[in-house]
Symmetry: C2
Subunit: 375 residues, 2 copies
């Protein structure tokens, strides 16, 4: 390949009149600067964190196809009452895809050693045939690793590691995690086992529990079981967990975790405190598998916090040295601790197919889609 | 007076069979130790923070009187489904009343200078004719101050000051406060005006707004007005408030504040961020005027936190020196910045009268009850 080259890029646009449009737009990539590379994207995951930008709050019942077979489009109505939040992105054609991996096809003079190498990339706009970016936003994959191996080496691994870093920074002893059989949850189990951090896994089915048992998880609680509250309290009491990371967000799961932490704290309380236990209980919400409101009945005193969690600001708080330490661990353990599995690999055009969109928008635990734009 | 002396003390008991009983129990006070005093209690406020211990989750429709005119009792049923949280206090006779003021009638050898002085007190069990406590838990009132002046010199003043200390510790520029026309809210306005901290007051009626205008409040937003959201966003945008203290707890007020903070942040945003603004938005819930669940729709990105807030742990975090600094300010400005007003003064026996209980349990803004056990 020689630049300038043309790349099709997946774009998401919300128009002022309330329509979402997905399309594949040609963009021209000029030759890379001295510290830049151009990568042929061969694998980019559809993470839950990509879906907000990709689909917006679209009404999934209104998906409609258009365009041509080579350049398909997909449209949908934005849900009533959700246009307010769209204001900052109205009528802007937004590129999508937080991370990906592929082969370096052009390299600037200072980074010529990367030419022909497979790399993982972070930086947005990864749902594209080619991506030009700074070499510092790439990590060369270990010998023998495929693009699929390197496609998810940032978001999930760094999020899992950030959870354990948060535990250490805030002085907690053990961790609770929801939707715990996800790719991220499996990574977190492997990290916690290696690091000796007790982890209470909350899953929603026996099948998910089995996935975690198979990788050596010790504490697994099924929220669909009738004794969920009691079993969760037992596991929290045994591990001393006072920190939780929640991927679900909506409904009562955060509330249930705080109640269980408070009940566990009160098992060892020696005196009645009218304001609840003095044990600080912290839940971070990092996902939105349930878009319903979070309901907190506050029946656990006043020593509690619920916060949003996003990995990038956390890494800024951790600092450059800490971030590089985490990145190095991910690269070293890419195909072991941080291995991801995908249930489907699709082309860019297929990412705009209504049936496929319905499937990946479900965010079912264990289902994971990979886009291969080189197909 | 000479010890041992007998004091009637208000007690609250929740029995295993689901009954709340309030009673006046005689207790014998032995002579004070060298660093202790005995105080005749002449004024003790009924704070919202006392009501949980005093009334528990009682069904207010079931209040029934008993006992004798001198030693009345009051009983009520505990609300269905709320007995679980009562477990740690079951069948224990609990003394009530966080703070109060009165006259020192006996003093230990090391603190004899306090004899005959009026003092403010912190430490529980203040709904009693006499209270023995360590002299370090008393503050001598300034010349000319009455017991009523000193009755509320701990909980509300230290909470108001802690809010401003929190603002400084966490690096916020301005503050939002709800139920802002309360005694505490009025104190907070006087503190913020003196300290130059912009304060956005949220009230629920025009009458409450007028109370605050009269003491010089600049930003007042009425949550019952149709343009509440817009007016709140304007005030937050103008002040740059990213911190709120909420006395209400339940319902959607916390959510509305976070939305307004996010909308204010987005007014100056230059680019769309799919994860919401990067401006950290923090709400502390310190009261429970509405016992309904807190509902968070999370439509304000991921840079937000909601936490419980209790003044005692905060002061422990602030440290002894900081706490003494705040206490000294309260004593110096007791009848100005930290003046409280009371709508009713009642006797210990009247505190058990069903009609009176109904009234003070309402926690209406502007209504404040004072118990004078010396009546």
């Amino acid at each position: 390949m020689t630049a300038p080259l043309t790349s099709l890029e997946l774009r998401s646009t919300v128009s002022s009149d309330g329509k979402l449009t997905l399309s594949l737009e040609p963009v021209t990539l000029e030759a890379p600067g001295p510290d830049e590379v151009i990568v042929r994207v061969e694998a980019a995951p559809i993470n839950p964190s990509d879906l907000g930008l990709l689909l917006g709050p679209a009404d999934m019942a209104t998906l409609a196809t258009g365009g041509t077979p080579d350049r398909p489009t997909l449209t949908a109505d934005i849900l009533a009452g959700r246009m307010g939040a769209m204001k900052p992105r109205l009528d802007e054609s937004m590129a999508v895809g937080n991370e990906g991996a592929g082969t370096v096809v052009e390299a600037g003079t200072n980074v010529a050693h990367l030419l022909g190498k497979k790399v993982g990339m972070l930086g947005g706009a990864m749902y594209a045939q080619y991506r030009k970016l700074a070499a510092r936003d790439c990590i060369a994959l270990p010998e023998g690793a495929t693009a699929a191996d390197g496609a998810s080496m940032f978001v999930n691994p760094l999020t899992a590691l950030s959870m354990v870093e948060t535990l250490r920074m805030e002085g907690h002893k053990a961790l609770v995690h929801t939707a715990a059989a996800s790719n991220l949850g499996q990574m977190l189990n492997r990290v916690c086992i290696a690091d000796g951090v007790p982890l209470v896994n909350i899953v929603r089915s026996e099948a998910q529990a089995q996935i975690l048992r198979d990788i050596g998880a010790k504490y697994i609680v099924d929220s669909s079981a009738p004794d969920f509250r009691e079993a969760l309290t037992d596991a929290i009491a045994e591990t001393g967990a006072t920190l939780a990371f929640d991927a679900i967000g909506g409904g009562k799961i955060v509330n249930s975790i705080l109640h269980a932490m408070e009940a566990a704290a009160n098992r060892t309380a020696t005196a009645y405190s009218r304001y609840g236990s003095s044990t600080w209980k912290q839940v971070y919400i990092y996902g939105m598998l349930d878009t319903a409101p979070t309901e907190l009945d506050r029946g656990y005193g006043l020593a509690w916090g619920v916060s949003g969690f996003l990995v990038t600001p956390f890494l800024m708080k951790l600092g450059l040295e800490g971030t590089l330490r985490l990145r190095a661990r991910v690269a070293a353990e890419l195909t072991t601790t941080f291995a991801s599995t995908y249930t489907q690999t699709i082309s860019l055009a297929e990412a705009l197919d209504p049936d496929v969109v319905q499937a990946y928008a479900k965010k079912a635990t264990g289902e994971k889609y990979l886009i291969d734009p080189s197909r």
